[in-house]
Symmetry: C2
Subunit: 321 residues, 2 copies
């Protein structure tokens, strides 16, 4: 393969993602030139996926292209930001045209669907790794920070929890009913950033985070930033049949409480705004389930179905543990 780095970038990444009039100059100069709309602030997040830590060498490059952008978009969703631009830094052990074509296709399909323009990139030789930075717009004062939860607020999560963790277990040999396998594998490899939901709840939720490291860890971040505690009810957690079966068989709630990679949203809300929330999300395919309440104090606790209350101490999927 004699493609040079420059040709490579041009061939696969010059024309992917959405076209946007606020991109004055895209890929191909020293910098991209971008214009933020008047009256909007910028929300910015960066995430890196490393082969061996976040995915395996044989993983499908198309779903990897999707997932590496999706986990970044999930951060915009958690903030209540509208997606706009992304930059991509790709470190590759070799130039593999088939891999690049599939990766860029997975990336581009999600980028176009969510209105993301790819505005810059960098390609280097080295151990496989993908760094993406996304930027989005928020109305001043409307971003959903982690710090806004107050005692008395209700706690909600979107979708259902634990599927991605169960999929990881299944990949390690834990038996899962065959009819449940495709669903949970899809949840692990193709997470869907909750952008539509995010657009409906901003201005209503008091705090929000996306669940990447597990409910306990991420709700714990809200508690820490807000200076509050949380009590969740295990019996209220929204679970897929696959996860419900697994918990029934093992009695282990860990996949739902501490399993990462679900990329659902966890948010808080004063109880008096509950009706407003319900009408805001009417008609959305993805639901919100109340799972507990915010209290004075610190830390996350869970009331188990037998009535016992335990601290959820797990920090979830922590790359340095």
């Amino acid at each position: 393969m004699s493609l040079s780095e420059f040709d490579l970038i041009r061939a696969y990444f010059a024309d992917i993602g959405a076209s946007r009039p606020d991109v004055l100059l895209g890929v191909g100069d020293d910098c991209a030139l971008l214009r933020v709309p008047p009256g909007r602030d910028l929300a910015v997040s960066i995430d890196t996926l490393v082969c061996g830590s976040h995915f395996l060498p044989g993983d499908d490059p198309k779903t990897l292209g999707h997932k590496s952008l999706a986990v970044n978009l999930s951060d915009l969703a958690a903030m209540g930001a509208e997606p706009a631009w992304a930059t991509l830094s790709l470190t590759l052990p070799e130039v593999d045209a088939e891999w690049l074509a599939a990766f860029s296709q997975g990336f581009s399909t999600l980028a176009r669907r969510t209105g993301i323009a790819l505005v810059g990139g960098d390609t280097t030789r080295g151990p496989l790794s993908i760094s993406i930075q996304v930027q989005g717009f928020v109305e001043p004062g409307k971003a959903m920070r982690r710090s806004g939860a107050r005692p008395g607020d209700l706690i909600y999560v979107s979708g259902h929890l634990g599927d991605a963790a169960l999929a990881l277990l299944a990949k390690r040999g834990v038996p899962v009913a065959p009819e449940n396998l495709p669903g949970i594998m899809d949840r692990l490899h193709c997470p869907e950033p909750r952008l539509d939901l995010s657009a409906r709840i901003r201005g209503i939720a008091t705090a929000c985070i996306d669940i990447s490291d597990g409910l306990g860890a991420d709700l714990g971040h809200i508690c820490e930033s807000s200076g509050v505690a949380a009590l969740i009810l295990a019996a209220s957690l929204p679970l897929s049949p696959a996860v419900r079966d697994r918990i029934a068989a093992t009695g282990d709630w860990g996949i739902a409480l501490a399993g990462g990679d679900d990329y659902e949203l966890c948010l808080t809300l004063p109880p008096e705004r509950r009706a407003e929330l319900e009408s805001a999300i009417a008609g959305l395919a993805i639901g919100l389930t109340p799972i507990g309440t915010v209290e004075a104090g610190a830390g996350v606790r869970c009331m188990m179905p037998d009535g016992s209350v335990s601290p959820v101490t797990g920090r979830g999927y922590d790359h340095f543990r």
Copy 2:
């Protein structure tokens, strides 16, 4: 070492870089929240440094912290943008407190000096790699693109060329006079982004690029984007005594014409604006040297001291060759 990822990020990266009022929310939430000043566009660039390709495992972490930010700031300088914000994604094989302290110190010293706030980050376990994205402000229409060079323009470079390439040769055993070693090593490990120069020349230069891959390669990018050719004069190239000695001894102009990592600026300018340029840069420590002219056609050629003219075909330091 039992620091978790979260504590680690907090300990070393929560309080580095400049403080800026346009950072509404910095490190520690799902996104940073940033405010672009009215009447300014955004310039964005991302660059990754990979251990083994761009630096070696034993390299000093403090200078690495400097260099990884400097090469990104050099892209802002090439565009004529005023530095504002950076995000940092760090992939580390292990948690090494001493390494992290030194790296963050090198990063922070340069960030504070250039007005860069660190607004977000991500830390992952894996092969050592550093991705940085920088953002800066430009007045609409004032950015120095690669595409503005026109036949008849003069070509200038800042500082002098080839020191970093000679330093790389010296590390591989090529003899260099001892009195010249510290200077060229400093140029390789601690490049200085030409931000002051950039601020003086924006609005005057017709095109600009930073020399990261070598003069031939990077001037070639200007030629390609602008649809022009370039003729440079070897005898006009600004050289340090160390590089001059090396070329005199070997007759090989490659380190000056194709050596990368200098991070000087290369720019073009209509001859009638020469006096304006000279008065704009008066008093700056770093100089600009005219090295050739823009012509109709394509490609970069160099007239050697013997009068012969050769195409500068080298694409410089290309990670996939």
